[in-house]
């Protein structure tokens, strides 16, 4: 699913942030990437969905070689991914319904199919009553639930989440973890989460990678 071979990452040919990383993430796994602030965990996640170019080595995501700079292939890879950001990245002048519908529109789903799917997801994230609201009218926790619903909308094979609970209180954080766990357990979606705070009672099997001074290693 994800395979890194001697992966080296850097911003604009500056000092390497990740050096010679080698790891494999299999289907349906739940992965945590942790490390101290500025260790490069978000940088590594960005390289998984092609937002950061690879300096050296190889990185395969769903058999797509990200070292090859092919814009068209990158877009088709992204269509099969779900991404959750710390700052939610919802489109402010779209309603909640339109935001969740975004990946379905990119996939050219018919409007009625998309609406049914959005309805189902809104119920799943307990936001059915907010269907016509705009992101600015929602709390941080609610916005993040919308972001998770958007990531789930098109049944992706992998969901990448960058500090999904970083800005949330404990109650909202618990809801987000539950949603991600359910996606992994019941839908079989591979989940890769960057976080500096792994919940103590995850209740599912997971693996953890730690990053220290640019070195990626699997923590026990």
């Amino acid at each position: 699913m994800i395979l890194a071979k001697n992966l080296t990452l850097a911003y604009d040919n500056k000092k390497n942030i990740i050096e010679n990383a080698n790891f494999r993430i299999k289907e349906k796994e739940f992965i945590f990437i942790s490390g101290s602030s500025g260790s490069g965990k978000s940088t590594m996640l960005k390289s998984f969905y092609g937002e950061l170019a690879i300096k050296k080595g190889n990185l395969f995501v769903n058999k797509h070689d990200l070292a090859k700079k092919d814009y068209g292939k990158l877009l088709s890879l992204r269509k099969d991914l779900g991404i959750v950001f710390q700052d939610y990245k919802l489109i402010q002048d779209y309603t909640i319904e339109e935001n969740i519908m975004l990946p379905l529109k990119v996939h050219n789903y018919a409007d009625d199919v998309s609406k049914t799917q959005v309805k189902k997801l809104l119920k799943h994230v307990k936001l059915s009553h907010k269907v016509g609201a705009y992101p600015a009218e929602l709390s941080g926790g609610e916005q993040q639930r919308v972001a998770v619903a958007r990531a789930l909308a098109h049944n992706p094979s992998i969901i990448f989440a960058d500090e999904p609970t970083g800005n949330l209180d404990d109650y909202s954080s618990d809801m987000i973890w539950t949603l991600l766990k359910n996606a992994n357990e019941h839908l079989g979606i591979t989940i890769v989460v960057v976080t500096h705070r792994i919940p103590t009672d995850m209740g599912i099997k997971y693996r953890r990678f730690n990053i220290e001074e640019g070195i990626v290693y699997e923590a026990s």
């Binding site: 937002e51 877009l75 088709s76 991404i83 990245k89 489109i91 002048d93 975004l102 990946p103 996939h107």
Partner: protein, 268 residues
């Protein structure tokens, strides 16, 4: 207010450019109308010792017709003062006269070329192009047409520059949305669809404004220009084609500018 300002920042240069284009179209129409009128009256007279053969074109202009002038008619005009022997002699010695009608009105340069080409034909004794009568006004009209074309070209370059600046501002304003859509696999074109929609709406608005202004100019042209020049304006000036051309230009220029910028961003 902000949206209105950016809308007018886009439509204003576009309307100015379209108006310049409309003026160019009017002048072109006036010139072609003048050309059509004079070409019917205009002919080159050629005097030749022997009958003239077929000539298909002169200096790249198609020859419409070669009309021989009746020699008997010419003799009849002068025979009153001549004796029969002199008339007989005149009939034998009188050269052949022809009027050459062209498909297009020639410029001074073309006329010189025509002269050279006709001189190459042996037995042609004299060529009269009657160029002075029409050519001064025609040259003046061509000059005006050229000046307006240059002005239009300059306004076009300036407009494209201003349009691209405004489109860049729109790209900047929509940057977050474009990034989010691209992160979800949407192409650059798909993610910048809202900008394209604004551009198309602005283009439509600009073409309507420019067409209305053209209509106003043409219906009130007698108030804008001197009565002596009015004779040059075609009596029936159909504006449908001109308005269509304005519409096409109003869409093509902004859309091409948009796609140019899109390619630039994609290469980045």
């Amino acid at each position: 207010m902000k949206h209105l300002k950016s809308f007018f920042s886009f439509t204003f240069p576009l309307v100015v450019m379209l108006l310049m284009f409309a003026i160019y179209l009017i002048v072109t129409k006036v010139v072609s109308n003048y050309k059509e009128n004079i070409i019917n009256d205009y002919a080159i007279v050629v005097i030749s010792n022997t009958p003239l053969g077929t000539i298909d074109e002169l200096a790249g202009i198609d020859v419409k017709e070669i009309v021989p002038l009746s020699r008997k008619k010419i003799i009849k005009n002068v025979q009153q003062n001549l004796s029969d022997t002199a008339i007989d002699l005149l009939e034998k010695k009188l050269p052949y006269f022809y009027k050459i009608y062209l498909d297009d009105f020639p410029t001074i340069v073309k006329l010189q070329e025509i002269r050279k080409e006709l001189k190459k034909i042996s037995n042609i004794k004299k060529i009269e192009t009657f160029s002075n009568d029409h050519n001064k006004l025609y040259s003046l009209l061509i000059l005006v047409q050229n000046i307006i074309f240059i002005l239009f070209g300059s306004v076009l370059i300036l407009s494209v520059f201003l349009l691209s600046k405004q489109i860049k501002i729109w790209f900047f304003e929509h940057n977050e949305r474009i990034t989010i859509i691209q992160l979800h696999g949407g192409s650059l074109l798909y993610s910048s669809k809202p900008i394209l929609k604004i551009i198309l709406a602005s283009s439509l608005f600009s073409s309507i404004v420019a067409s209305l202004m053209l209509f106003l100019i043409m219906t009130n042209i007698h108030m804008l220009i001197e009565p002596e020049v009015m004779t040059l304006i075609p009596t029936v000036l159909s504006m449908e084609i001109e308005i269509f051309k304005i519409f096409i230009l109003s869409v093509i220029i902004p859309v091409v500018t948009f796609f140019g910028l899109l390619v630039k961003y994609k290469l980045k």
